[in-house]
Amino acid sequence: MVRGFGWAAAFPDEVWEHVFSFLAADADRNAVALVCRAWHRIERRSRRRVFVGNCYAVAPAAAVRRFPEVRAAAIKGKPHFADFNLVPTDWGGGAEAWVEAMAEGWPHLEELRLKRMVVSDDCLELIARSFKNFGVLSLVSCDGFSTAGLAAIAANCRSSPVHTSVGLEVAILVSVASEGVNELSLVYLLLSSADIPYLRNLRELDLHENEVEDNCLNWISHFPESFTSLVSLNIACLEGDVNTSVLECLISRCPNLKTLRLNHAMPLEKLVSLLQRAPQLVDVGTSKFSADHHPELFSKLESTFAGFKHLKSLSGIWEAGPTYLPAIYSVCESLTSLNLCYATIQSPELLKFVSRCKNLQRLWVMDLIEDNGLIAVAASCKLLQELRVFPSDPYGVAPPISLTEHGLVAISAGCLMLHSVLYFCRQMTNAALLTIANNRPNLTCFRLCIIEPHTPDYISQEPLDAGFSAIVESCKDLRRLSLSGLLTDRVFKSIGASANRLEMLSVAFAGDSDAGLHYILSGCKNLRKLEIRDCPFGDKALLDNASKLETMRSLWMSSCSVTLGACRQLALKMPRLNVEVIDERRGRPLESWPDDFPVEKLYIYRTVAGPRSDTPPCVWTV
């Protein structure tokens, strides 16, 4: 009998490493690391991908030290409610600390994905200089940078036929030796190829919904002529004009380009001539899709799109109207993903377009599609998996649209593979929710937003407790849920009891008392993120379930009934939580306020890094 876990030494490390390479999920790799010291050592040296869901949960240096061979990192910063302007702009989420640590410890990093972080131009320059084999940069919902920073990224891109710096040196050695050049030149050549790290082989530059300052108009021209490795370019969030001819050159010399998402500013004629150069595209995001009617432009657009033999995903189509949309009917059949949520066209034309897309798996659209449109989608798009319906008029200024619960019920009945829903509407009934729950027990994501807070079932005037309870009871694999409408504590009782796979819950204007929050925190075994606004949830539920908070990534509560005293108690009780009180109005420091002071915004997250050092004046770590 071998003592302890000595059996691990029965095989060389490489064998275990090979076995672990089949484990993709972080949870599995984490479990492996806990088995014995040997496995911990082997696993940490072989982990290639790291996902940091909360940039403040761990110190960057610690992460880099623990996993020295990481090639792909994804990091998230601000809480989700920052998307809706509930988080102060200076709250935090700065990327510098992470980028500096990564530049130091992960020189071989190939992929970096940042979400909801503040990324400065300096950060972008550091990224451009630090990683020799960098391939993918993805910035989602970030801010703090400008097109000057993008120019730095572009300027540092090179494409070399050989992948490692050693290989490049060898290649030069061989070619130089064969030409009989003297030793001095040889040394010079070796030095000049090896000493400047640059972004070799940048394949993907993905800028999604960022706030980017436009101060460098021609940043695209900074991509060198020799750069040809681009596979994916998404600049949809940029506001300024982009030099079309420079972009055309770039696209023409990148034969592997599969994804091209342009920004709003480019006129339709220029878009057409651009797209003609890349008929191999799989994913296209167009620019503005409206112009005065010109038959010539129409037929050019038509032939360009007819040339796309592999197009699967279409987005952009800003301000599309009935004039030009028919020009692209030819791609409908092949589309699996369609994002029309910027297209302000009305139902008849919208319906005509979408119902031709028989192979659609993902549809994002405005509520202008109306119930009739959704009924048509339910009949035509049998492979639909994900539906998002956005409000064209969220503040209720325009004449009302005929999109109701009937549209969603029709989709739930007709689309058997539907598993993800985001739906904005103005009315709902328990009966409809029950029907949806019965039709689609395979839902994994259900986000319903009834625009008016506290809206009851419009027929029975009852709260929507029964409806949402049916959803959580029927959909056993539900991972994400957003509630709305008139709701009492009863719905939380159901959720706490039934939603065993739920990982993220968003609650607004719901519940009667602390019991509501207590049901959630004492149930929902797999809950990771909880965000709450404008609910009467207070101290008792929070303190009674303090230990639950350490099993979750984060909790956001704003405009609830939590007092400062409870926050202080919680912070004392749970040293591995950061309890951040956010208050933009008060001038005096936190310490001087009494225990019964009502907390306006509260963000609690687990961390092994202790309180952060970059809190702005409006944030106090209790």
Binding site: N85, H293, P322, P394, V397, P453, L486, T488, G538
Partner: protein, 181 residues
Amino acid sequence: MELELGLALPGGDLIAELGLASEKSTSMCRKRGFDDMFCRATSPPLFVQKDGDDDDGDDDDSRFNHLQELNLGSRVLVGWPPVRVSRRKSEEGGKRRVNCVKVNMEGVAIGRKVDLSLHDSYQALFLTLSQMFPKKQHDGEESDAAYYKVTYEDEDGDWMLVGDVPWEAFSQSVKRLKILN
């Protein structure tokens, strides 16, 4: 849910009428109920759209201003509904810049409203107008553009023939439309 229209400011009983839970104990919640009542004041039943000649222009804007007066300094709903709104005020996340203008036809008493943001060209606009104001054809020809003489009042107060300027310039400067017989 019936709202009693009266001249006095609504009192607490309205909160019960609106079906808001009565078990709420904290004052914050009651205050929120008050807010919700006022925020809900934007819903159509409380304000009737007038279809007469209105030099102010958009009825919708005046409705919104009324809301701001009623708020009486109480909290405005921030970040609701949860749609992403770019801080740079560009069109994003489903927020559409609504552009409703009144349309009157000569000799027709009832006017209509058309939302220009849902149209991308003159052709589209004429199509909508022809659906709103159908006219019997004598020669059986279908020709939208030649069908109407549509004039518009621009931001300077001048009446011009529709179709002379590029669509974008037109849609930003038009205040109202008039169809001539």
